[in-house]
Amino acid sequence: MTGGGTTSLALEGVTVTYGGRPALDDVTMSIPHGSQVAIVGPNGAGKSTLFKALVGLLPVRSGRVRMHGREPGGQTDPIAYVPQREEIDWGFPVTVHDVVMMGRYGRLGWFRRPAAADRQVVARCLDELGIAELEKRAIGELSGGQQQRVFLARALAQEPHVLLLDEPFTGVDASAREALLRILARLRERDITVLVSTHDMETAAQRFELVALLNRRLVAYGSPASVFTPEHLTAAFGGQALFLDGMVVIDQCCPGHVGDGEEHRHSHEPHADPR
């Protein structure tokens, strides 16, 4: 059900427990090389857990993760991860250049200082995201969209095969969202596999070729049209999904995170049924 091409990333019966309870239960999916997948599901569905397991922050209880058929974590197949905004200390005294250079540290030995080649990669990534002129600014002085591009540039400086973006559409305005989608379109040409977790069902349905609907278990995985069916949405969202003739309304109370300092808000995201 994943289309043609070679498999870049494969999950085989992956179960991850978090605080004693299963946060991901027996998830099996294979992601073709160079594809872009939107991961959607209700709060607590395990979207972030999935990413944390993929980068080795949380142990996989059972099952296994394979990258190009091998155990991930080697220097040759790096996975880059762009965290959610609230996980970053924006007051930390680092410049844009410093942050992007951190993407090179994995390739630098313990005592080695960045070389000319590393500085070239950093300059190229800054250029690519159109933030070269912000190089010397402190990250705390930037707008939300600019901050996101800094972390994207850092991820690209890792020269990754797989890029994970955790809720990149949350807390940024429409123009920043479009800018990000344009960047993702460019990455498609470079065969970088991209996984994006999001609450934005509309963007997932319209701008991604593959969608994974998660609610601890993998409810559905495939093209948006095959995933966004009333049966699947009911299975994932339960009573939160409301079906009005030809429309699905999902009442996602409190997107974002508990404790992120935002007021709880209701977002009723009308979403045209793709059928």
């Binding site: 080795g56 942050v99 951190m102 540290y105």
Partner: protein, 282 residues
């Protein structure tokens, strides 16, 4: 004026006090940048108090006080590292218990000695005028070790402080780096024992670094500015103690605090005035 500046240092013990104060001022301020950025101020204070029993035991045995402090500090650093990893209690609760208990144990041990009040005061608030040539050597060597480790692993410490997740992904072992930082912090506190004492070392760890935080936008610059603030406060404090006949450790801390207050109000970007102006412009 020149005479006013040089007079105090005609005396040898004052020269030693000056060197010791400068080393401690710079060392605390540099490592203090990580204490401020990783919100370890409470931990630093606790670590300082927790070495009191070690000093007391060394004192009772007639052993070297710095050696006693060194052993105790490293043991406590290891203890906190293990405690906070095992979980069960929140870290600040564990630290709070450990720190009060150690302080009490130290006081109990010290109170068995007749000259208890004076000696305890020296440990709590420092006795920079009593620094011997031998002490100076130990202070110098320990300070050199801490600074060399910080410089060698600068990029790793920076990464692990800013983004432990990325550090983990890149194989930089953030938990090992955190543990190393605890040991360096313990060594720094031992070095500071004689100049500012157990009671005030936390201020030297936090205040100059917090001042520098308000004035800079890069970690290396923050360390440099912090070192300068720490050094100036230390020397100025020594003059204050000479001419005004006040306790030197406390004078150093008050001068550093004054520098912080100035930065808090007038810092170009993060100061009160600048922030208010920015809000009005917006």
């Amino acid at each position: 004026m020149i005479a006013w500046l040089t007079d105090p240092f005609a005396l040898q013990f004052m020269q030693r006090a000056l060197v010791a104060s400068l080393i401690v001022g710079v060392l605390c301020s540099v490592i203090g940048t990580f204490v401020v950025l990783r919100a370890m101020a409470f931990l630093g204070d606790a670590l300082a108090h927790a070495i009191l029993p070690g000093v007391a035991i060394a004192y009772l045995l007639g052993a070297d006080l710095l050696l006693g402090a060194l052993v105790a500090a490293v043991l406590v650093a290891v203890g906190i590292g293990v405690f906070s990893r095992r979980g069960g209690l929140k870290e600040d609760t564990a630290i709070g218990i450990l720190f009060a208990a150690a302080l009490a144990l130290g006081v109990v041990l010290m109170s068995t000695v007749r000259s208890y009040a004076t000696d305890l005061t020296h440990i709590l608030f420092g006795n920079v005028l009593g620094v011997t040539a031998g002490d100076l050597w130990i202070i110098g060597i320990l300070a050199a070790i801490v600074l060399v480790v910080l410089v060698l692993f600068f990029k790793e410490f920076q990464l692990a402080s800013f983004d432990p997740v990325l550090a983990h992904m890149l194989g930089k072992r953030p938990e090992v780096l955190r543990f190393t930082m605890l040991i360096l912090l313990a060594l720094t506190i031992v070095v500071s024992l004689q100049t500012v004492g157990v009671g005030l070392v936390a201020a030297m760890l936090v205040t100059p670094a917090a001042t520098a935080y308000l004035l800079t936008r890069r970690l290396a610059a923050m360390m440099a500015v912090s070192a300068v603030v720490g050094a100036i406060s230390s020397v100025a404090g020594l003059y204050a103690s000479y001419y005004l006949d006040v306790a030197s450790g406390a004078a150093v801390v008050l001068i550093a605090t004054a520098a912080f207050l100035l930065a808090y109000v007038f810092a170009p970007r993060r100061g009160l005035v600048a922030r208010r102006a920015a809000r009005r412009a917006a």
